[in-house]
Every structure is written in structure tokens, then in C-alpha cells.
């Protein structure tokens, strides 16, 4: 059946309700809601959430925005926590302690700090052990919850509170870690990079595949942050679109090792289009800093080309 956002929103429960306290213009809530809609209505779900914006804004005692079962333990161990719940499910199901006809799916949400940095060991371990779970990283490119500190997901030159654009050092000097590739190197059955654009089609379809592919699966979702990135709150969807049209955030999936780029812009836009509306890159547009934009563009081009090559190579090998 063709993807129809109206039908999905009308018919499938969000399991993530209104009333949460995340910022206007934040990319994360629509991502969480759409991913939860990818669950089959009859399936039970357990969500494990790393400490971060999403957690502190959606489950403040005695309230919760989650209508499905939810657990938060700490910052760096959402994957391990989820793996324990999944292990209990397997053991209890095997012993007939749970209803036979009812299925539970396991989904973990963590920000880039909780995933690329402090939680990478826990994530890597859970994925390697082969738990039947989906890990979703909502990547907003810095520690936004604690006040915009740089993470290993922060793009080069970004102005953050621990990589401030100063007179001598113009923002973060290191390149972004490529977590999606790291997860692909775990040889998981399904790894994808996605974003909330075009009525969320790409996001929804990848979430559905990730959740219903048996074994450990991983989604990396770019989730812009108006406070950290410095764009007007009503610009969220345009920022998302610019991220993919400049190939800053390529959309692709790796199914059993085979790469498929799911969106190739007809006209690849220059990176300035993505950088310009964001306050964190403002210093890059000062006279004399043209080299920064050039260096940024160069890296985007290089990574995009690598991806095109991977797509070609992995599909050739599998013929």
C-alpha cells in the first residue's frame, strides 16, 4: 500500500501524546511520534530513552507523554537497558509467562550525546549481541539539554558553548563522527539514515523496516534544534529539506550490507544554503572566512562521493 500520511496520522496511534515540554521548532518530537506510528497497532512496545532533552521533557513525574511502556535509567545505557528488557521478554515468552499471541517491540531513543559519545559502548554492545530491538538516534549535533555543548556529532566550525567561535579558534575544529557508518560496520540486518521531510515518508518507511526487521537495527535521524542551531522555530521543515538537498545529511539505508541511497537531489545545492540560516555557522560568513565554507563543502562532497561509491560497490558484489 502506498504511503499516505493522512491515513497514517488518522488511523495509527502516536503513542507519544501532546503536552510534552519540548521546544517549539524542535525536530525530535515529530520524529518520535512518526516512528511510534510505524508500529502495528496490535503490537505492544517498550521504549527505552537515554537521558536528554526528549527524556526530561516527556516524562516528568507524575506525567508522561508516552502511552506505551517506557523506561529511562541513565544517559549512557539506554541500549543496555533495552537489551535487558528484550532478554526478559525472550525468557518469559519461552516459559509461557507472557501471552503467546501478543508481540512486544523494543525501541530505544537517544540523542547524539547519548549515542555518538557516552552511550556508544552500550549501543555497540547491544547491537553486537543481536537483541531484537531498534535503536533510534535523534541527532541534533550537540548536547542541547545541558546548553549546547559540542559532541562528536557536531559539524566542523559550529559555534557551541564548549567550542565557541573565538578570535583564535573559529568554532569546533574537528569533523563530525560518522555514526551511521560505524553501525553499518556492525553488519546489522538494517541500518538507515533518515530525516522528517516530504510528509515523513522516508522516516516512516525506514522506521517500519527497522522495527519489523528481526534483530538489531539502527536509525540515525537528523533532528534540528532551534536553540542550538539558531534558526527561527517555524523553519524546521525547510532546514530539514536543505540538509538533504545539500547532501549534508544523505538519506540511505544499508540492508544486509547493501547500500541504497534513498534520495538523490536532482540539483545538489551549495552548502551555504544549509549553513546560512543557522546562527551557529554565522562566523563562517564573515569576510576572510571563505575558506571555512570551502572546507565544509569539500567534506560534504567527499562523504557524498564515498556513499555513491559504497552504493555501487555493494550492489555490484551482491549481483
Amino acid at each position: 500500500m502506498a504511503y499516505n500520511v493522512k491515513e497514517i496520522v488518522a488511523n495509527k496511534p502516536a503513542r507519544f501524546t501532546a503536552g510534552h515540554r519540548m521546544c517549539a521548532g524542535c525536530g525530535a518530537p515529530p520524529v518520535a511520534r512518526m516512528i511510534m506510528r510505524a508500529l502495528k497497532e496490535e503490537d505492544h512496545a517498550v521504549v527505552s530513552n537515554a537521558t536528554g532533552c526528549m527524556e526530561v521533557s516527556t516524562c516528568i513525574y507524575p506525567y508522561t507523554s508516552w502511552t506505551t511502556s517506557y523506561i529511562h535509567t541513565a544517559f549512557e545505557c539506554a541500549a543496555a537497558t533495552c537489551s535487558g528488557a528484550e532478554a526478559a521478554y525472550k525468557a518469559m515468552k519461552r516459559q509461557g509467562k507472557l501471552p503467546e499471541d501478543k508481540h512486544t517491540k523494543f525501541i530505544t531513543f537517544g540523542g547524539d550525546g547519548g549515542t555518538y559519545d557516552i552511550g556508544i559502548q552500550s549501543l555497540s554492545g547491544a547491537m553486537e549481541r543481536g537483541h531484537d530491538m531498534t535503536y533510534v538516534c535523534y541527532d541534533n549535533g550537540a548536547y542541547m539539554n545541558t546548553g549546547i555543548q559540542r559532541s562528536s556529532a557536531t559539524p566542523r566550525f559550529a559555534d557551541t558553548t564548549t567550542s565557541p567561535a573565538g578570535d583564535v579558534i573559529p568554532g569546533k575544529m574537528q569533523s563530525r563522527k560518522d555514526l551511521t557508518e560505524i553501525m553499518a560496520s556492525h553488519h546489522l540486518p538494517y541500518v538507515a539514515q533518515t530525516i522528517g521531510v516530504n510528509n515523513f515518508k522516508d522516516l516512516y518507511e525506514k522506521a517500519e523496516k527497522a522495527i519489523y526487521t528481526e534483530g538489531p537495527t539502527f536509525l540515525n535521524v537528523l533532528a534540528p534544534c532551534p536553540r542550538g542551531w539558531g534558526y527561527p522555530t517555524d523553519m524546521l521543515m525547510q532546514i530539514n529539506k536543505l540538509a538533504i538537498d545539500t547532501c549534508y545529511w544523505p538519506l540511505y539505508e544499508v540492508v544486509d550490507g547493501k547500500y541504497k541511497i534513498t534520495y538523490k537531489p536532482a540539483k545538489k545545492l551549495p552548502i551555504e544554503e544549509f549553513l546560512k540560516p543557522q546562527r551557529r555557522f554565522k562566523h563562517m560568513f564573515k569576510p576572510g572566512n571563505e575558506w571555512m565554507i570551502e572546507a565544509f563543502q569539500e567534506e560534504v562532497d567527499k562523504r557524498w562521493q564515498e556513499l555513491l561509491d559504497l552504493e555501487e560497490i555493494t550492489n555490484k558484489n551482491n549481483d
Binding site: 513525574y61 507524575p62 511502556s69 535509567t73 543496555a80 537497558t81 532478554a87 552500550s122 554492545g125
Partner: protein
């Protein structure tokens, strides 16, 4: 009929876990507790248990996975020592605050640094305020028995707290001793089935575990947790009573060894109690009224009961197998003396830090402690309450 065996403390713990048959065991190797998950994974591989074994990549993940599993509605166990416990420290507090009755053998070993793999109690002392029930074991039999009693205590509706069973690394974990095992079916009946009231896998009642808990509620939740620890005292005794009916083996908060008429006494935990008993017997033969209080339940701390049990002695020594580095005595010493003071009892009490990093504890040294106590008893004065034994060259 109970089963007579010869087992090490680690083997005995693994067998207790096999008989308990938990839903999930998540563990990471660390000396000297490694053997427990090692033996247990063999039971999993051979299909003798229904457990899902999660071979995690760290102790932090071990405790995280146990929390996930226990919150999901299963029985979860792990085992660790020393730095492994230190790495899971963050999650140890979270397990307790989420009121999850996870059970963990803790094979005591000196905490780094510098690195040392041998026994002392510095690992356990690091979690003494974490809200875990902490039982100590003199030998392999007690390590086994404490584990069999653990779930009944931890899972009780008035308690719902995690529990660790301590034993001395290498000294009991790797020493093979005679042991009486309980039959599988009797253990199964005694431990019972785990029926949590609320759990993540109940699709009929979705729940949220581990919310953000701010100024408006955290204080009350901590008070509830503290009350659970207080309530655990009664339950520990009730479970011990049932256990005695099944096995004939008697347990309480502590064991009083020739303490009733003692004039001088030692308080200590784990295997040192065995060494001390030998010394007490020898001194008794010489007509010295020496006694021992071997503490089994360190958390909840039976302060009042200890104070009453030693109120009649003329001099008391508290042995701490961990240096608190606080210039005012070990953790057990401060707990005991606080209990005495609060209960209005004045007993001349002295502290000894000993056995650090696996330094051998000999009967001669324990004799030395009793000699010191005789002197204190005769003068009624404690010159220096913060002492050491077994330290090369003595304390300066």
C-alpha cells in the same frame, strides 16, 4: 534429604542461581567473581535453566540490562567484584530507586587503585548508602544460603529493594569446602514465582519507569525507599525463620558466638569471623571470656540490636576490612559506635583496619586484638581508637 557436596564459594553461588532459575543473567567477567557467570553460562548452554544469558560489554551495562529485565517483569541477576561494582555504581543507585529487587552476588575485592585483585571490603563499602540490602557470608554455605533467601526478602511487597550477597574474594570464593545443598524442588518452592505488580511487558497496563523526579516529589520517594529499608528488617527475620524450618540452619541479623557472657568482644564480617571463632575457642579454654558478633546484615544496619547484644562487654573491637580514608575510623566502626551512642550505651570501643588488599589475617593477630581488649577492659580507657593490625612496621 539435603545434598552433601564439596564446592567453592563461587560454585555454590552459581548453583544457587541455577536453582533460582532467573529469567535474565547479565554479567561481565571480573576477578574473583568471574566463575559465577562462567559456571552459569554452562547451565544456559546445556539447557538446565530457562535463563537468557546476556554477555554484556561492561558492568555498567550488566546492571543496566538487569534493570531493564527486572522492570520488564523478569527476575534478573548479575555478579561482580571491585571495579566492576564501581563501574556499575551509577546504576546500582538507579536499581534501588526504581525499587527493583535485583539480586547480585558480590565477591569482595579491593577497589583500585592501585590495582589489586585480592580481598577486602572496599568495594562493598562504596555502595553502603545506595539502598541495597547487603548480606555478608562467612563461608560458602552462608553465601549459598543467603542467595536462596535473597529473592524472598528483596521481592517482598514491603521491601522491593535490590540485594547483594557478599563473600570474601578468593578466601571463600575459591576455597573448596563441604556444603549442604537443598534439593531443587525445595528451593523452587521456597523462592516461589516472581509476580510483579507493575511491569513493562504487561500490554494491558503500559507504565513509565524512571521519570524525571523533581523538587515536588523526589523527597517523598526517597522517604519511601528509606521506609522500605526499615521494613526489610522484619522480613529478613521472617524469611530466616522459614529457611530454618526447611534446613535447620538458623540465621538472624548477626551470629552471637560465645557473646552472651563475654567480657571482651569483636565485631567483624565475612571470613574473618571464622578465624575469630578459632581464637575465641582457644581463649575460652584459657578462661578468657572472649566473644564474637559476626554481622550478617550490614544493610539495613541493625544498630539497636547490635548495641543491645554488646552492651554488657567491657571492651569492644570493630574490625573494618576497608580503610575509609576519613581520619575517623572504618564504616562498620562508625555505624556500630553511632548505634551504641544513640541507644545510650557506653562501651569502650576500638577500631582496627586490617586485611587490606588481601593481606592475610592470622589467628595471632586476632589474639593480639583480644589482648588489647583485655587491657582496655582493665583500664576502661581507649587511648587510640583508630588502629591497624597486619600493617608492616605498625601504624605511625
Amino acid at each position: 534429604m539435603s545434598i552433601r557436596e564439596r564446592l567453592s564459594g563461587n560454585e555454590a553461588s552459581a548453583i544457587a542461581m541455577k536453582q533460582i532459575n532467573p529469567d535474565v543473567v547479565a554479567a561481565f567477567p571480573i576477578t574473583p567473581s568471574t566463575e559465577i557467570p562462567q559456571y552459569f553460562s554452562t547451565f544456559v548452554s546445556n539447557g538446565t535453566v530457562d535463563t537468557e544469558f546476556v554477555a554484556v560489554e561492561s558492568e555498567h551495562s550488566a546492571m543496566s540490562a538487569c534493570i531493564g529485565a527486572e522492570a520488564a517483569g523478569g527476575r534478573a541477576m548479575t555478579a561482580t567484584s571491585s571495579n566492576g561494582l564501581a563501574l556499575m555504581w551509577e546504576m546500582v543507585y538507579i536499581a534501588s530507586s526504581l525499587r527493583l529487587p535485583i539480586v547480585m552476588p558480590l565477591v569482595n575485592r579491593a577497589i583500585s587503585g592501585p590495582l589489586n585483585i585480592h580481598n577486602d571490603h572496599s568495594d562493598a563499602m562504596g555502595i553502603r548508602d545506595s539502598g541495597w540490602i547487603m548480606l555478608f557470608s562467612e563461608n560458602n554455605q552462608e553465601a549459598y544460603d543467603n542467595l536462596i533467601m535473597a529473592h524472598r526478602i528483596a521481592e517482598h511487597k514491603d521491601v522491593r529493594l535490590p540485594l547483594c550477597v557478599c563473600q570474601d574474594g578468593f578466601i571463600t570464593s575459591h576455597s573448596i569446602e563441604n556444603i549442604e545443598l537443598i534439593e531443587d524442588d525445595k528451593v523452587k518452592n521456597f523462592v516461589g514465582e516472581y509476580k510483579p505488580e507493575h511491569y513493562l511487558l504487561n500490554d494491558k497496563e503500559p507504565i513509565a519507569v524512571g521519570p524525571m523526579d523533581l523538587q515536588a516529589y523526589l523527597f517523598e520517594h526517597k522517604y519511601q525507599q528509606a521506609n522500605a529499608m526499615r521494613a526489610a528488617k522484619k522480613i529478613i527475620l521472617e524469611v530466616a525463620e522459614d529457611f530454618e524450618k526447611m534446613t535447620g540452619r538458623k540465621y538472624s541479623f548477626f551470629e552471637e558466638y560465645k557473646l552472651e557472657d563475654a567480657e571482651i568482644a569483636i565485631i567483624c564480617m565475612n571470613s574473618t569471623a571464622g578465624t575469630t571463632k578459632v581464637v575465641v575457642d582457644a581463649l575460652r579454654e584459657q578462661g578468657v571470656k572472649a566473644g564474637l558478633l559476626k554481622l550478617r546484615v550490614f544493610r539495613p544496619f541493625p544498630a539497636e540490636e547490635i548495641a543491645k547484644a554488646v552492651s554488657h562487654v567491657k571492651a569492644l573491637a570493630v574490625l573494618d576490612k576497608a580503610e575509609s580514608l576519613n581520619a575517623c575510623g572504618g564504616a562498620l566502626f562508625t555505624d556500630v559506635t553511632s548505634g551504641l551512642y544513640t541507644n545510650g550505651m557506653q562501651v569502650p570501643t576500638v577500631n582496627y583496619v586490617y586485611g587490606i588488599g588481601g593481606r592475610d589475617t592470622t589467628t595471632k593477630e586476632i589474639e593480639g586484638v583480644y589482648q588489647d581488649l583485655q587491657e582496655i577492659a582493665s583500664t576502661g580507657k581507649v587511648e587510640n581508637p583508630y588502629r591497624y593490625f597486619g600493617l608492616k612496621g605498625g601504624a605511625k
